[in-house]
């Protein structure tokens, strides 16, 4: 049964079409990820779903309620963790949670028990009466997750849940989300531009320029990239590209100052490649496909690229480092 249903949803800001007619549905108990670069329309979509923004076209439904027509029912059914912290730093952890319980009209007797339970899950019970001011970034995030789940929501929204956190904290947060998912049987809807994070999802929609350009399980999406990826830098990329096309019948793409090619058995191809190339090879790398490669294949850009300017700079950086290496 699908708990989120979005049909042909669009949002126009003056001259910018932030969301351009997207449709998708999320099943109960699923972890659904929205993947895409900054400015792809992920946050706009979340804001419409959680009733902070009104759409300009299409419809969105959560737990059977229309986001535009029944905002209060939708709000009760969802828990939110925003990109930026929304805790009151002048209050204690307990006070922040209690405030939340009152806003969501949680039963008085239940509140105290639930607060302790959630603080226990995110391992903050010992800091219950400490001011948020003295919390680290990771602790704040954990407390926000506890707060988002306090009122037994059916869907938990996480907008870039681990943005700005160090990798270790990021892993801890993911462990918590996993534990909570099993314990509370909720649906998780998240946005991210970290590829590694998206791999934790049951299903992913890749978004770019306000549209969904691909949707499926991480494994299926990665399956669209054929086999392994070889990245090599040669003294003359143009010439090497021609030779590879003629000799091996493989189209190589220019990327980050080198050549990138997809092949079935990469490890066996590398020696043949180097042998066949008339120009010196400076570096070779082999990797298994990631979601980043899926995105690259679909859009011709890597997800972190902010535009042409950035691309040029990466190329320049590459050239410089190779010159240094040759000396």
């Amino acid at each position: 049964m699908s708990v989120i249903k979005v049909q042909n949803l669009s949002k126009q800001f003056k001259s910018l079409k932030a969301v351009d007619g997207i449709s998708f549905s999320v099943n109960e108990g699923e972890v659904f990820g929205f993947l895409g670069p900054n400015g792809a329309g992920k946050t706009t979509t979340i804001n419409i779903l959680c009733t902070l923004l009104s759409q300009t076209g299409g419809s969105a439904e959560i737990a059977g309620y229309d986001c535009a027509k029944n905002p209060d029912e939708v709000r009760t059914a969802i828990g939110l963790i925003f990109q930026d912290t929304t805790l009151d730093t002048g209050l204690t952890a307990y006070e922040n949670l209690k405030f939340h319980a009152y806003l969501y009209n949680l039963d008085r007797k239940l509140t105290e028990r639930r607060i302790d339970e959630m603080l226990g899950v995110v391992e903050l019970l010992g800091r219950k009466h400490d001011l948020i001011k003295n919390f680290s970034g990771g602790m704040k995030r954990r407390l926000e997750i506890a707060r988002g789940l306090l009122h037994y929501p059916r869907v938990l929204f996480l907008d870039e849940p681990t943005l700005g956190l160090d990798p270790q904290t990021r892993n801890t947060i993911w462990d918590f989300i996993d534990t909570l998912r099993k314990k509370e049987k909720i649906t998780v809807f998240m946005t991210t531009h970290y590829m590694e994070e998206a791999e934790n999802c049951d299903r992913i929609a890749i978004m770019d320029h306000g549209r969904i350009i691909a949707e499926g399980t991480p494994a299926r999406l990665k399956g669209t990239v054929h086999g392994d990826i070889i990245h090599l830098v040669t003294a003359d990329n143009q010439l090497a590209r021609e030779v590879i096309r003629k000799t091996f019948d493989i189209i190589a793409h220019e990327e980050n100052g080198g050549l990138s090619l997809e092949t079935e058995r990469g490890d066996e191809l590398i020696p043949k490649l180097i042998h066949a190339l008339p120009v010196p090879t400076l570096s070779v790398s082999l990797k298994k496909p990631t979601l980043n490669d899926v995105f690259l294949r679909l859009t011709g850009r890597t997800i972190r690229d902010e535009g042409l300017q950035n691309n040029k700079e990466i190329t320049r950086e590459f050239v410089r480092s190779h010159r240094r290496a040759q000396r």
């Binding site: 800001f13 959680c50 009733t51 902070l52 923004l53 009104s54 905002p71 209060d72 029912e73 709000r75 009760t76 969802i78 939110l80 925003f82 930026d84 912290t85 929304t86 805790l87 009151d88 730093t89 002048g90 209050l91 006070e95 209690k98 405030f99 939340h100 009152y102 806003l103 969501y104 009209n105």
Partner: protein
């Protein structure tokens, strides 16, 4: 649907924060005390007592008005802080009506302002002003109404203010003129006609006028009250309702 619990918890949050920030309490109290004791006493020796009133006694109702003005505007500006630090989102995505957010802020702001006005009232014996119990109760009653009005005005402004940069503009172009054009420091009747018209648009004028009714009972204009008490109270109440409704509406607006 307006629920009592969200309004209650929004108020409690404001009180907790108010008492944790001792500097804020001190700041809002220091200003009127400075005016009363330093400026009031200084001017007292310069200006001859007028029909049995000293300057100090004259500005006393105005100083209560000033305490309420600063305290109320400051309370409502907390909305801008909440927005800047993201906490407003926590309230906006909750299943509560926008009116309960606005009412919660208005009621807590009113309580805090009235509490400060009471502290000023307690200082009166040191100024040689002696109030009857009845006067004390009346001042508090008027203070509740005036505080609610000014807080509502502040909420309406804060609801439209998108960043904290606007705060200084509000202080210089709204709060200060409201104070100077309210008859708090000098009689409205002594102002040039153009400014007098402006005083009539100022909600604080009617608030200060109502305080004069209670505190300068036997005085006549220019030092005493200018309008009738019922007119003062009616205008203040009417402005409160209009401001509060507009504020709730501007919260409801989504992009």
């Amino acid at each position: 649907m307006i629920l009592v619990r969200p309004i209650y918890v929004i108020c409690v949050r404001e009180f907790i924060k108010f008492f944790r920030e001792k500097s804020r309490l001190l700041g809002t109290l220091a200003r009127p005390v400075l005016w009363l004791f330093v400026v009031g006493n200084g001017m007292n020796s310069l200006i001859k007592p007028h029909v049995g009133f000293s300057y100090l006694q004259f500005i006393f109702p105005g100083m209560i008005g000033m305490t309420i003005l600063f305290s109320s505007i400051f309370s409502s500006i907390s909305i801008v802080w909440d927005r800047e630090f993201g906490f407003m989102k926590e309230m906006l995505v909750a299943p509560i009506s926008r009116m309960s957010i606005v009412l919660g802020k208005a009621i807590s702001g009113t309580f805090i302002s009235v509490a400060q006005a009471i502290i000023i009232l307690v200082l009166t014996p040191f100024l040689g002003i002696h109030l009857t119990v009845m006067q004390f109760v009346e001042v508090v009653a008027v203070a509740v109404l005036v505080s609610f009005c000014i807080t509502s005005l502040g909420i309406l402004i804060a609801a439209r203010l998108t960043s904290f940069d606007g705060f200084n503009i509000i202080m210089n172009f709204l709060v200060m003129p409201m104070l100077f054009l309210s008859g708090a420091m000098y009689p409205v009747t002594s102002m040039p006609p153009a400014l007098r018209h402006l005083t009539q648009l100022n909600p604080l004028t009617y608030g200060v006028d109502a305080f004069k009714h209670v505190l300068l009972r036997n005085a006549t204009p220019p030092l005493g009250p200018e309008f009738s008490l019922s007119r003062d109270l009616f205008i203040v109440a009417a402005i409160s309702i209009v401001m509060l409704t507009l504020a709730a509406l501007s919260f409801r607006k989504k992009e």
